[in-house]
C-alpha cells in the first residue's frame, strides 16, 4: 500500500510540475499580451515626451525587437528564455537576471522574516484564544486582529517608523543596510508591517480551526474515557493544525507577491517596487520575469503544501493524492 502510494506520489509530483510549466507558459503569453495592449510605448517612455527623433525611436525599437509583430516578439522572447536568457531591461539597459538576482534575495528575506513572525505570533495566539474562548485575552486579541486585517500596511508602516525609527530610535528608517545581519535589522519593521494583516488572518484561522475541533464529539469521548487534558489537547491540535499548516503555504506566496507597498514605504530595492515601476514603464522583459518568478514561487509553495498535507494527514496518505 505504502509503495503504491509512493509511486503515485512521484507521478503526482511530475504531473503537478508539468502543469506548473504549462501554467507559466500560458501566464507569460497573457502578461505579454496585456502589456502589449496597455497604452504607451517603451521607446517613447525611454526618451520622454519631448519630440523624440524618429531615428532614436527606431534605434531603441530595433534594439529590443519592439518593431517586430506581436507574435514574433513573444516567440523571440520565449526562445531566449528557453536558452536561459531573460533579456535586458528596456528602462535600465541591465540584463534582467542581474537586475533581479539581488532583489529576489531581499524580497525573499523580507517575505521569510514576515512569514516567521506571522507563524510565531498568529498560531500560538490563535490556539490560546480558542482554549480560552470568550475570555478577556480572546476578546482583546480578536479585536486587535480586526484592526490588523483592516489597517492599510502603508499606515501601519509609517506608524511603526515613527514610533520605533524616530521616537524610540531603535530601528533604521529606510533602506536595506549593508548585507547580512544589518539587512535583517533593517527588515524588522518592514516584516512586522507585512505580517500585520496576514498575521491577523492566520490568528483567526487558527482560532476557528481549534475551536471547531474542540466541539467535535471525539473530544467529549476522549474526556469521558478519562484522557488527561494535555493528551486531549494534543489530539485536538494535531487535527486542527492540518488546515492551518496547509494555509501557511499560501500565506508565504501571498507575502512574497505582496511586498510592493512595504518596499516603497521602507525604500527597499526588492522585486515588488521594481514590478510597480516596470509595469507603468512597459518594461516587458522585467515584468515577464517578475510575474513568472512570483507565479513559480506560488505554484511551488502550493505543491509543497499538498505534499505537507500528504505527510501530516494519514487519511490523505491512505487515499493517495489526486
Amino acid at each position: 500500500m505504502r509503495v503504491l502510494a509512493r509511486g503515485s506520489l512521484g507521478r503526482y509530483v511530475a504531473v503537478r510540475l508539468a502543469a506548473t510549466l504549462l501554467l507559466l507558459l500560458a501566464l507569460s503569453f497573457i502578461v505579454f499580451g496585456l502589456l502589449h495592449l496597455t497604452p504607451g510605448d517603451p521607446a517613447r517612455n525611454l526618451l520622454g515626451p519631448k519630440n523624440p527623433s524618429p531615428e532614436a525611436l527606431e534605434a531603441i525599437r530595433a534594439k529590443y525587437n519592439l518593431d517586430e509583430p506581436f507574435l514574433r516578439q513573444y516567440f523571440l522572447w520565449l526562445g531566449n528564455v528557453l536558452h536561459g536568457d531573460f533579456g535586458t531591461s528596456i528602462r535600465s539597459d541591465i540584463p534582467v537576471t542581474d537586475l533581479l538576482s539581488e532583489r529576489i534575495w531581499l524580497t525573499f528575506q523580507l517575505a521569510g522574516l514576515s512569514f516567521v513572525l506571522t507563524v510565531l505570533v498568529g498560531v500560538p495566539l490563535g490556539i490560546a484564544a480558542a482554549w480560552r474562548a470568550g475570555s478577556t485575552l480572546d476578546r482583546a486579541v480578536s479585536v486587535t486582529s480586526i484592526v490588523g486585517v483592516g489597517a492599510p500596511s502603508y499606515a501601519v508602516g509609517l506608524l511603526l517608523l515613527y514610533v520605533f525609527g524616530v521616537w524610540l530610535d531603535i530601528f533604521p528608517v529606510y533602506g536595506s543596510g549593508d548585507g547580512g545581519l544589518d539587512t535583517w535589522w533593517h527588515l524588522v519593521l518592514p516584516a512586522i508591517t507585512l505580517a500585520f494583516g496576514i498575521g491577523a488572518l492566520v490568528f483567526k484561522l487558527t482560532r476557528t480551526a481549534v475551536l471547531g475541533e474542540l466541539q467535535q464529539d471525539y473530544v467529549a469521548f476522549a474526556y469521558s474515557r478519562g484522557l488527561a487534558r494535555r493528551q486531549v489537547r494534543g489530539l485536538v491540535l494535531r487535527n486542527a493544525l492540518i488546515p492551518v499548516a496547509t494555509s501557511l503555504g499560501l500565506v508565504f506566496g501571498f507575502l512574497f507577491g505582496g511586498t510592493i507597498l512595504v518596499e516603497v514605504t521602507f525604500a527597499l530595492a526588492g522585486i515588488g517596487s521594481l514590478l510597480a515601476s516596470s509595469v507603468t514603464f512597459k518594461d516587458i522583459p522585467v515584468v515577464q520575469a517578475i510575474t513568472l518568478l512570483t507565479a513559480l514561487v506560488i505554484a511551488l509553495t502550493a505543491l509543497g503544501v499538498d505534499l505537507l498535507y500528504y505527510a501530516v494527514d494519514p487519511r490523505v496518505r491512505k487515499r493517495g493524492l489526486q
Binding site: P39, G40, D41, R44, N45, L46, L47, G48, P49, K50, N51, P52, S53, E55, A56, A59, I60, K63, S89, R91, S92, D93, I94, D98, L99, E102, R103, P152, Y154, A155, L158, L159, L161, Y162, G165, V166, W167, D169, P172, V173, Y174, G175, S176, L261, V264, T265, F266, A267, A269, S273, L274, A276, S277, T280, F281, K282
Partner: protein, 552 residues
C-alpha cells in the same frame, strides 16, 4: 532634460492618508526648530538672489553628506535616461566644455574659453591640467570622442537630437577643438554643457565597460569633482571626492544619495537625522518638512513651465473662441496662491524669466519683457461671451489626461472644471501613470492637454523651439512665427535675439494655442547646520555639493 515630470516616474502612493497620519505623528512629535527660507523669487519682481551663503557659513570639511532623492534612476548617464535626478547625479561626476554660472550665463568649464568666429563655427580652447577621476589626463581626443558619444543614437538617445545639426568636431590646434554646424543655430552654445547634452569621458572607459555607459556595472568616468563608487537602482549612489579636481577640493568627502520614494518616509528619515538633505520635496507636504526638527527648506525657481496645450487640429479646439473661453476662465493668480502655496508665479510666456535674466540684466526687466506675451485676465463673463461666438455656443464635453505625479495639475483642472461648468463646458479629469500621459501630448485623441516642462538650459528659445516649431503638440502653424523662429536661430546679438523670441511668442499667443499657467519653484530641505551657497535655478545642475557650507 526632456522629461518634464515634476517628480519624475515617481510612485505616488501617498494620498489623503499621508496627511492625516502626519498630523497624528506631528501631534506626538517634539519641539520644532525650523525656519523656511526662500532662496529665490517670491512672486513677480523677485530675483535669484540668495539668502544663504552669507555671513556665518563657510566651506568646511564634511565627512558624509546623505541626500535623499524622491525616486530612483535606472542609469546615471543622462544621455540614456534624462530625468532631473539623472542630471543632478551626473553634475557631480561629469563635465563638458561650458557650464552655467549661478545666473544662467555660460562660462568655461573644460574649455578655458571659446569663440564663435562665424555662424557655423565654434572654437574651444581646452583647459590644461585636467584629469579624469582615475588620474589620467584629459586630451583633445577625449573631447572629440565625447562629442561622438553625445551624438550617438544608441549610446545617447536623449541627447543625440541636440547634436543632429553638428557637422564635424575636430582638433584644430594643440589644445583646440572646432565644432562646425550644418546650419546656424545660436542655441547650440548650450549643447556642450553638462546641464544639457554632453558629459566628457574617454573611449577606454566606455570600451572597458563593454560599450555601456551609466549602468551599475559600467558607471561613468568623467572629470568632475567626484567619482561614483557604487550605484544600485532603487537603492542609491555613492560618490567619493577627487582631491585633485582642477576646480579645487570640494568640502564634502563622501556623498551618499539614497532613493526614498515615499515622501513621509523621507520626512521621518530627516527627523531621525539619517539624511542631511532632500531634493524636490513635495509641495503638498511642505508644512511637514518645515515642521521637521533642525531642518531648513529652501525654495528657488526651477525653470519649469506649466500650461494648457490645445490641439488646434481637434474639434472644438480648432475654434479660437473656444480656446479663448477656456483661457479667460483660468484664474491663474488664485491657482498659484492656493495650489502652489505661493511657490511659483503666474506665467505670461513659454520662456521662463530665468532664461533671459542674464541677457536683460535683472529679474524685473526679464519679467517686464515677458509680461505682454500672454495677459488674458480671469473673466468668466468674457469667457461666456467668447463661447457664445464659437461653433459650440451651448458648451461641450472634453476629457483631459493628467499624470498621477502631478497633483497640482490635477487640482488645477478640477478647479477649472468647476469654473467652466457654469458656462456649459464639462471637463473630465482622468489620472494616469506618467508614461501614459506622454501619449496624450499632441495626440488627436486629446484636444485638451497640458505640459509640465523643466527647462534644462538657460537658452530662452528652449521650449519654443519645440512648442512653436513644426511637430508642436498644439498642431499650430503660422508662417510669421516660423520666420521669427528662424531669425532667432541666426541672431548672434543676445538682446536682439531675445526680442525676436518675445515677438514670436506674442504673435503665436494671440492665437491662444497654449495657456501659460505658472512658472514653478522647487524646494530642497537641508539640515539647518548646513546651507547651500547661491541656491538658485542652476544649482543642482552644476557640482552642487561643492557649494554646501557649514554654519558657524
Amino acid at each position: 532634460m526632456s522629461a518634464p515630470t515634476p517628480i519624475s516616474r515617481r510612485l505616488v502612493l501617498q494620498g489623503a492618508g499621508a496627511g492625516a497620519l502626519m498630523a497624528l505623528l506631528a501631534a506626538c512629535g517634539s519641539d520644532d526648530e525650523t525656519s523656511t527660507t526662500s532662496g529665490g523669487t517670491e512672486g513677480t519682481g523677485g530675483s535669484t538672489d540668495t539668502t544663504t551663503g552669507g555671513g556665518g557659513a563657510s566651506a568646511q570639511e564634511i565627512d558624509v553628506l546623505t541626500v535623499a532623492f524622491p525616486s530612483s534612476v535606472s542609469n546615471i548617464y543622462p544621455g540614456q535616461e534624462a530625468g532631473n535626478f539623472n542630471y543632478y547625479i551626473a553634475a557631480l561626476v561629469g563635465e563638458a566644455l561650458v557650464a552655467p554660472d549661478s545666473t544662467g550665463k555660460l562660462v568655461g568649464a573644460l574649455a578655458e574659453s571659446w569663440t564663435h568666429p562665424d555662424p557655423l563655427t565654434y572654437v574651444y580652447t581646452i583647459r590644461s591640467g585636467v584629469t579624469f577621476s582615475d588620474g589620467s589626463p584629459l586630451t583633445v581626443d577625449d573631447i572629440i570622442y565625447s562629442v561622438g558619444v553625445a551624438k550617438d543614437e544608441t549610446l545617447s538617445p536623449n541627447t543625440s537630437y541636440y547634436w543632429a545639426n553638428v557637422d564635424t568636431a575636430e582638433q584644430t590646434g594643440d589644445n583646440e577643438v572646432t565644432i562646425t554646424l550644418l546650419s546656424p543655430d545660436v542655441a547650440f552654445e548650450w549643447g556642450p554643457c553638462a546641464a544639457n547634452a554632453m558629459w566628457v569621458t574617454a573611449q577606454r572607459f566606455v570600451d572597458a565597460a563593454g560599450g555601456e555607459i551609466g549602468t551599475p556595472a559600467a558607471l561613468f568616468t568623467g572629470t568632475g569633482p567626484y567619482k561614483v563608487t557604487s550605484f544600485e537602482p532603487d537603492k542609491g549612489v555613492e560618490l567619493e571626492r577627487i582631491d585633485t579636481y582642477w576646480g579645487g577640493k570640494a568640502p564634502v568627502k563622501t556623498v551618499k544619495i539614497e532613493f526614498i520614494p515615499e515622501e513621509t518616509t523621507r520626512i521621518l528619515a530627516r527627523e531621525a537625522g539619517d539624511i542631511d538633505m532632500a531634493v524636490s520635496i513635495s509641495l503638498d507636504q511642505e508644512q511637514q518638512w518645515a515642521d521637521t526638527e533642525a531642518t531648513d527648506v529652501l525654495f528657488a525657481p526651477d525653470k519649469s513651465y506649466v500650461g494648457i496645450d490645445f490641439n488646434t487640429a481637434v474639434e472644438p479646439f480648432d475654434d479660437i473662441h473656444v480656446r479663448k473661453a477656456i483661457a479667460l476662465a483660468c484664474d491663474r493668480a488664485t491657482y498659484v496662491e492656493k495650489l502652489l502655496n505661493g511657490h511659483g508665479e503666474v506665467a505670461t510666456a513659454l520662456t521662463v524669466p530665468e532664461q533671459i535674466e542674464s541677457v536683460t540684466g535683472d529679474a524685473a526687466s526679464a519679467r517686464a519683457k515677458l509680461a505682454p506675451i500672454f495677459d488674458l485676465p480671469y473673466d468668466l463673463e468674457a469667457a461666456k461671451a467668447e463661447l457664445a461666438q464659437s461653433k459650440v455656443p451651448d458648451g461641450f464635453s472634453v476629457k483631459v489626461g493628467v499624470s498621477s505625479s502631478a497633483p497640482q495639475v490635477s487640482q488645477f483642472f478640477q478647479a477649472l472644471a468647476a469654473t467652466v461648468a457654469e458656462i456649459g463646458i464639462t471637463i473630465e479629469v482622468e489620472e494616469m501613470p506618467v508614461e501614459q500621459w506622454y501619449d496624450t501630448i499632441g495626440s488627436p485623441d486629446w484636444g485638451l492637454a497640458y505640459m509640465w516642462y523643466f527647462n534644462a538650459t538657460g537658452d530662452p528659445a528652449e521650449l519654443i523651439s519645440w512648442f512653436l516649431a513644426e511637430g508642436n503638440p498644439a498642431s499650430y502653424t503660422n508662417e510669421e512665427v516660423a520666420t521669427l523662429l528662424q531669425q532667432q536661430r541666426e541672431e548672434a546679438d543676445p538682446a536682439k535675439r531675445v526680442d525676436l523670441i518675445v515677438e514670436a511668442q506674442k504673435v503665436a499667443m494671440a492665437d491662444v494655442p497654449y495657456v501659460p499657467l505658472w512658472w514653478g519653484e522647487a524646494a530642497t530641505a537641508i539640515a539647518d547646520k548646513y546651507t547651500i551657497e547661491d541656491f538658485g535655478p542652476y544649482t543642482l545642475l552644476s557640482p552642487w555639493t561643492t557649494r554646501i557650507l557649514t554654519k558657524e
